[in-house]
């Protein structure tokens, strides 16, 4: 028996037993459904065009509504505005409260809405604001041929931006969405598979099968085999979900991908593997410290905290993928798997930096696996209660 054969057996058992467990099948199906719903539902809604009902009170409203319709007329699916006229403000407000109208336009200068709305207000509010602004300019420059130019200037960027790295324009938004989606997927995947590792190790310890296994295998073979087996299931689910998402995006044409961004997919999968390896090794070591499933989450809390911090840190990278924070975090191994793919998505990471970040993470991983293996071997045969990280490290027996 070589180490490789042993690890393959251990990995194979994990893969088979967990792969056909209800937990895996259900979580795969649910993830797939959520991702598809996130893509298909907006696509269906959009294809029907949008319709708003606007209450009108007083005069001077129609030019704004007409301008609003004109603004979306060029879209693939134009917005329709239904008008409901009111005689008195009370009636209009009552209708708004009752949800019969989406907003009430008063004398072409006031917009009454039901709630303050989220950041930037609702889509309808934005559209009407834009339309009203356009009307004002046209009134101001009445008869002047420059009116159209002024509107054009105000609604577009005056300078053409030429970036040295990465791309601009429509594609940025799309790659950003992919990066964001990938980030969320990765976060969920790393945490859920890390948790499998955690509970799997604790279970083997609490049901004591581990002593039988250790009589023929080395702790590190067991740890590595487990990481590989669960990792394979994870990558299968992850890649499956990503491929389904990309296919759904192309079919629904929610936004047209210029081409499937292969560089980004490869980077995402590679960083997913690195991230998974880092967290599963850490979770495996944490799981070996406790004997009861109830204690496992507590033991893993520090790792979970780091993952959450990494996830939030990556939002900074989404805002500004070239910021100092993003650059520094690319070299912090537990956080890098969240940050680097985002920077890759925007083309905001030079190749050497990318390679160095990967190198740092790989070195960190190698050290971590050794450390985790030692803690794991020291803690496995300790029964009853929790053994401290230090004691486990010291008492590594095998």
């Amino acid at each position: 028996m070589t180490s490789l054969q042993t690890m393959r057996l251990v990995a194979g058992r994990e893969f088979r037993e967990r792969g056909r467990s209800r937990a895996y099948l259900v979580s795969s199906a649910v993830t797939l459904l959520i991702i598809l719903a996130m893509i298909v539902v907006p696509a269906v809604l959009r294809s029907q065009g949008r319709t708003f009902t606007v209450g009108i009170l007083g005069s001077g409203n129609e030019p704004i509504l007409a301008a609003a319709e004109a603004l979306t007329a060029a879209d693939e699916f134009p917005t329709t505005l239904r008008r409901v006229a009111f005689e008195a403000r009370d009636e209009a407000v009552a209708a708004l409260e009752a949800g019969e109208v989406d907003a009430v336009l008063v004398d072409g200068r006031e917009l009454v809405v039901a709630t303050a709305g989220g950041f930037g207000g609702s889509d309808l509010e934005r559209l009407l604001q834009q339309a009203a602004g356009t009307r004002r300019i046209q009134d101001l420059l009445a008869g002047d041929e420059a009116a159209a130019d002024v509107v054009e200037i105000l609604t577009s960027d005056a300078l053409e931006v030429v970036p040295l790295r990465g791309e601009r324009g429509r594609e940025v938004g799309q790659r950003g969405v992919i990066a964001y989606g990938g980030l969320v997927l990765m976060y969920i995947a790393i945490l859920s598979y890390g948790t499998w590792m955690l509970t799997g190790v604790t279970e083997e310890k609490s049901n004591r099968v581990v002593e039988v296994l250790l009589a023929t295998t080395k702790p590190w073979q067991l740890l590595a085999g487990k990481m590989i087996g669960i990792g394979l299931l994870g990558i299968l689910q992850f890649v499956g979900t990503v491929v389904a998402a990309v296919v759904a995006l192309r079919v629904t044409e929610l936004f047209d991908l210029p081409a499937i961004p292969v560089d980004l997919l490869v980077a995402m999968v590679a960083w997913f593997l690195l991230g998974y390896a880092v967290y599963s090794a850490a979770y495996g070591a944490a799981g070996s410290l406790v004997s009861r499933a109830e204690d496992a989450q507590t033991a893993a809390f520090p790792m979970t905290l780091v993952a959450i911090a990494g996830f939030f840190a990556s939002f900074r990278a989404l805002d500004d993928p070239s910021s100092t924070t993003a650059v520094v975090l690319s070299f912090v191994p537990p956080v890098a798997p969240f940050v680097v793919p985002v920077r890759v998505a925007f083309g905001a990471i030079p190749a050497w930096e990318h390679a160095l970040a990967a190198g740092v993470t790989v070195v960190f991983l190698a050290l971590l696996v050794r450390l985790a293996g030692r803690v794991y071997s020291g803690a496995l045969l300790h029964q009853g209660g929790r053994i401290s990280f230090r004691d486990a490290f010291r008492s590594a027996e095998v």
């Binding site: 057996l9 083997e204 023929t216 590594a396 027996e397």
Partner: protein
């Protein structure tokens, strides 16, 4: 390769300290091929630590474990079978799959492992439950699967920590038969137990450990013969006073008319019988070597 009867597993001078606790203090004994050794000792004497040491699960401070004259390596351990005191299998895994997996970890091919798993499940009377997850089996049946797990690769050495604990009389019988058959087929068998009667019936050899050191080891019959004491059992109709005057009595238990004594080996039995028949009517008289229980108590007297 050693012959049947030669010491094949030799433990020598094992030492292990956990913090302040001296778990093993020079523990040494040998196991022979084709024989069964009962490994006895009070709780906490070092039995489990010794067994774990055979499988390299304990980093020894000193001492050696050799197999066939060579230090035990991973390759040898593949041919050992182990049933730890802390029983454990994957609860949700089917009994057969579990055995196949463990068999393969010991180096069997998948098809050999399948055949062996089925054979052992059948032999141990749990063949019908092969497709059931282990957690759905009764305690006794789980224990049978656990035994099968230590046997699936036909080991040359079988080490079992308390294999009889928690078994009903039928389970004990099956377990005993299987172990006996294994030893007869040439396997070296070591098991720990607190059931001394059982060990006395089953084992050729014993090793008694106390406070991390072996206090008595060897062939059961020879140890009994060599004992300084003899066991005397009498049932008297009346009297029994004369027994108080007897010299060389180590222990004397009275249960109604029944007297159980442990006496010096040199006690003159004929004289004793004469004294007894002159003062009382003897309903029953037995003079034997001490039981394993007696040997054990003598060896670990605190």
């Amino acid at each position: 390769m050693s012959e049947r009867g030669d010491p094949v597993l030799v433990l020598d001078g094992l030492e292990k300290t956990y913090g302040e606790v001296r778990a093993l203090d020079g523990c040494a004994f040998a196991v022979e091929r084709g024989r069964m050794l009962g490994f006895l000792g009070p709780n906490g004497a070092g039995k489990t630590t010794t067994m774990r040491a055979i499988f390299g699960l304990v980093r020894l401070d000193a001492g050696s474990v050799t197999w066939d004259g060579r230090p035990v390596t991973d390759a040898e351990r593949l041919r050992f079978g182990y049933m730890p005191e802390a029983r454990g299998l994957y609860p949700k895994m089917k009994a057969r799959d579990q055995l196949v997996y463990l068999g393969m970890l010991h180096g069997l091919t998948r098809s050999d492992a399948r055949r062996a798993a089925d054979r052992w499940l059948e032999t141990l009377g749990v063949g019908e439950r092969a497709e059931d997850p282990v957690e759905e089996l009764s305690h006794g049946n789980q224990q049978r699967v656990q035994l099968a797990a230590s046997l699936v690769h036909d080991p040359e050495l079988l080490v079992l920590d308390e294999p009889f604990s928690g078994l009903d009389p039928l389970g004990v019988e099956t377990m005993a038969e299987v172990l006996r058959a294994q030893a007869d087929a040439g396997t070296a068998v070591v098991f720990s137990s607190h059931q001394l009667d059982l060990v006395e019936d089953l084992c050729e050899d014993v090793a008694i450990i106390d406070r991390g050191r072996i206090v008595l080891a060897g062939n059961v019959r020879e140890l009994k013969d060599a004992s300084r004491y003899r066991r005397l059992e009498l049932e008297l109709e009346d009297g029994g006073e004369f027994l108080r005057r007897l010299t060389g009595v180590v222990a004397h238990e009275v249960d109604g008319d029944r007297h159980r004594l442990l006496v010096d080996k040199d006690t003159d039995v004929r004289e004793l019988l004469a004294a007894a028949s002159s003062t009382a009517r003897i309903r029953e008289f037995a003079y034997t070597t001490p039981s394993l229980n007696d040997l054990f108590r003598e060896a670990v007297t605190r």
